[in-house]
Structure formats: C-alpha cells, structure tokens
Symmetry: C2
C-alpha cells in the first residue's frame, strides 16, 4: 500500500521516500457500473459494502448476495438478491457535500436524515485522551508515507476507550465507508451507543451525515469543523469534537454528551 | 465566509472561534440540474466556469452565453448558446479520482490526457522560495478559521515570482476550479508557460489532471503526493513539487524543470 520513490530535495540531492499507492476500484452492481473509487485497498469488500450503505443504495445486508473483488481488473462485482430498485434514478442526482467540495453523496441521503434518532451516549474526558493517545501511538501508513487519512472506531463500553478498528485510505470518505462496512457485518456486536468515531479529517456535513447514518452519536476529529457540518450536528444532537490532540479539544455541539473531569489547572 | 461560534474547550469553558461558512450551490445547465457544490462562494461564476471546463463539458468560452448566480436559492444558472451535446451520457460515468477518494471527475476526462502537451517551462529555486513565502504571509481564511484549502497561481515571467490570484474554499477542488475559471477569462493574458500553480492540498491524480488540462506545467504543494498522481505527472512531464515549506521542498517529477541555485550548506 506504499511505494518507494526517488525524489530530488532542495539541495538537488536524490532521496528515497515512501508515498501511498492507491488503486482504482470500479464498483459494478448487478453488472451495472456504479462508481470508481481510488483506494489503498486494504479492505475492499468492507469499503464497497460501506459505500453502498452510506449512499443508502442498500438497506439491509440480506439484499446482498456477494461482493467479489478482482484487483487484476480493478473491479468489485456486487451481486444483489433482487436488484436495487430505481438505481438509475437514485444515483442520478449529485449532491456534493464533502469537505473536498465535490464529493458524491447521492440525493436522497439528505432526505433520510429526518428519520435519524441517535442513541443517548456520553464520553468521558479520560476516554477522549485515551482515544487521541491511541491514534498518536498507532503504527500507520501516515507515519510512513503521509498523504492519507485515518479513521477509527472506539468502544466506550468500559471505563477505558478500546480501539475496535483503524482504517487508512487516500480519502477520508473511503476510510469511513470501510468502517461502515465493517460495522454492518458486526451488527449485533457493536452497539452504537457505546462507540466513538475518530477521523483525522475535517468535520464537514458529509462526515457528520455518514456518522449519523451509522448511528454514531459522538465524533472526534484532529481537525476543525465547517458551518454546515456544525448545523447538521446540532440538528441531530450529535456530539462533534474537533482539534483533539494530546489533552486538548474543542466541543462544537452537544456538550452534554461529554463528562468533563475536575482538572487541576497549573498556576 | 466565516461564522463565529461558541465551543466548549477541554476545561469545560466556553470560547468563541471562527469556522468557515460554506453554502450549497447547485449548477443548472440550460435548466438541467448538474451538480451541487459546497463552497465558500467567493467567486461563484469563476467556480462554475472552471468546473464546466475541468469536467470538459465546455470546450470554449463562446459556448456559454451567461452564468447567473442567485444565492437566495443557492443556484447558478448556466445558459449555453447551443446546448451541451450528450450531456446526459457524458456526466453518467463517475470516475472518482480525487484525494478525498470519492470525487467527481467525469469519465472522458481521463481519455483526454493523451492529447495534452505541456509547454517547456522551468522555475528557479528562488522563485519557489518566493512562492512559499507569499503563501505564508498571505492574509487568509485559513489563518482565521482553519479547515479550508488554498490555491494560488504565480507568474514566473520575471525573475521574481508574482502572485496572480489566491483562492480558498472548503475543498481544494473548488479552489482549483475557481482558478481555472479565472484563467479562462484571462486567456490571452496568462501564458501557461510562465505560471506555477500552488495548492495546500495533496498532489493526487485529480489535481495533476486538472493542472495539466489547464496547461500548467509546474505544480507546488505544501503536502505530499500519491502514487497515481506521480504516475500521471511523469507521463505528462509535469513538474510536481511537494512538501514545500520555507526553503525546503521535494521534487517528485520532471526535476529538469527546476533550476537549483548553488547553495552554501552550513557545516
């Protein structure tokens, strides 16, 4: 997932370094081409599953008979049991809500937000620190090659935050979709009221929407937040925490979900 | 383009800060809905123009009669002189090549790369330092609110690099498209052999493709590069420079376009 390349530095000297090596993966649903994703490809089946889920093209796991990935041709063939009704129409409207400014969340996803009721949940300040510590110490492609985004899911069921899964990809959307696919396969094991989602990327409207669709009530980011992301988070009563590094963080919405510890402030 | 919000910090104290305020802008071409972009909206007409150009939906400026932006309804109405032939078919295929992993560059853009011949051009090390210095000193939304990407175009016609335009947006794709639109309107004034494109974002395949389509032979980024971006840059003989901050940089491709100065290295 990384490749070593030769570059020339500011002294005109050759140096070698690693860069992330993404591949094109075209998703076919019942032999119909849907989209081509650029991905590091660590977990292509989860990515495809999560993409279909987050685009709300598939409502239940039962609808999918199989997902077959063939890297030789860069294709993921999805076979559904009964087809996806109105797929032409449902993928026609491009609502582009991502932080990259030109994403690909299809039209009726926005409409579906009204039906979302996030579970009651909270996170303690100690758990937040454990989450950022875990990410800081995580062995990663980012540390080796840079230029990728990371997402993770943490369980806060016990007193301590426990990492369930960590995924990196060239794009944060692929990373969150991969986690969505993984979560779907765990359905009964991961209780959304007891998980916190972490992303290195900004909390834009699309990230908030995807988290909400996955039923995750608390989202933590190393980066900041945009106004539309905030407006959605407030509407959903989703707790959005940004600028989380070391022991620092800023809670942008639903602060009642955070349990602040009594802190001794150095004089 | 920024909004002041109240957040809660790690001490449980309220603080105010600024976040970028993006708006939805839906592009209609001859009354047909094409796409919705999330944008800071500084130069919506340039953005729409650049988007149409970079998606290769429009080949010449003459094809466009007018672009009318109405923020009250978040719409940009594009009127063409003779319509866009095959627009349904040409916007059907989603090739998703962006750094966010799920962008929106339509299908036949990739095919068009074969015809691109970038002009002979070079950049001096002094000009590179002037470019990063200018960006560092630039008054920006990023400094005020964070969470946005910046792009700029520099002329290297004279000995010194001169800033022509600087654009920020929630997504780097909108920022580069806005510059593309601006460039198109200057057609005869901006000679592509004498310009360098700067972006705060990563050099992914989509950024390289867009630069090449705009005829820009040299691209500079504060961030790194992905393998596919590099493969395209090498194929196009486009000079891609990454990790450019202060006096440091790494040249990933076409180093013959860089004129290194004799440097005195501290012992």
């Amino acid at each position: 997932m990384v490749r070593e390349v030769v570059v020339t530095d500011e002294f005109g000297q050759s140096r070698t370094l690693f860069i992330p090596a993404e591949r094109a993966l075209t998703i076919y649903v019942d032999k119909r081409e849907l989209v081509t994703l650029m991905t590091l490809g660590a977990h292509p089946e989860w990515l495809v599953l999560g993409y279909l889920r987050n685009q709300r093209l598939v409502e239940t796991l039962d609808e999918i008979e199989s997902i077959t990935v063939d890297w030789d041709v860069g294709a993921a063939a999805v076979k559904t049991r009964n087809g996806i009704s109105d797929i032409e129409k449902r993928t026609e409207k491009r609502v582009v809500t991502t932080g990259c400014g030109q994403g690909s969340l299809f039209g009726d996803v926005l409409d579906a937000l009204d039906g979302i009721q996030l579970p009651a949940a909270h996170v303690t300040q100690t758990q937040l620190e454990e989450i950022t510590d875990t990410i800081r110490l995580q062995d990663s492609i980012y540390k080796k090659a840079g230029s990728v985004h990371g997402c993770a899911l943490f369980s806060t069921q016990d007193t301590h935050a426990e990492k369930l899964i960590f995924v990196e990809d060239v794009g944060r959307h692929n990373a969150i979709d991969t986690i969505a696919g993984w979560m779907w396969l765990q359905e009964n094991k991961v209780q959304t009221q007891e998980v916190v989602f972490y992303t290195t990327g900004r909390l834009t409207s699309e990230m908030v929407m995807k988290s909400a669709q996955m039923g995750i009530p608390i989202v933590v980011s190393r980066s900041g937040m945009t106004e539309m992301g905030l407006a959605l988070a407030q509407q959903l009563n989703l707790c959005a925490i940004g600028r989380a590094t070391n022991k620092r963080f800023l809670c942008f919405s639903a602060p009642e979900r955070v349990q602040w510890q009594a802190m001794v402030v150095a004089a």
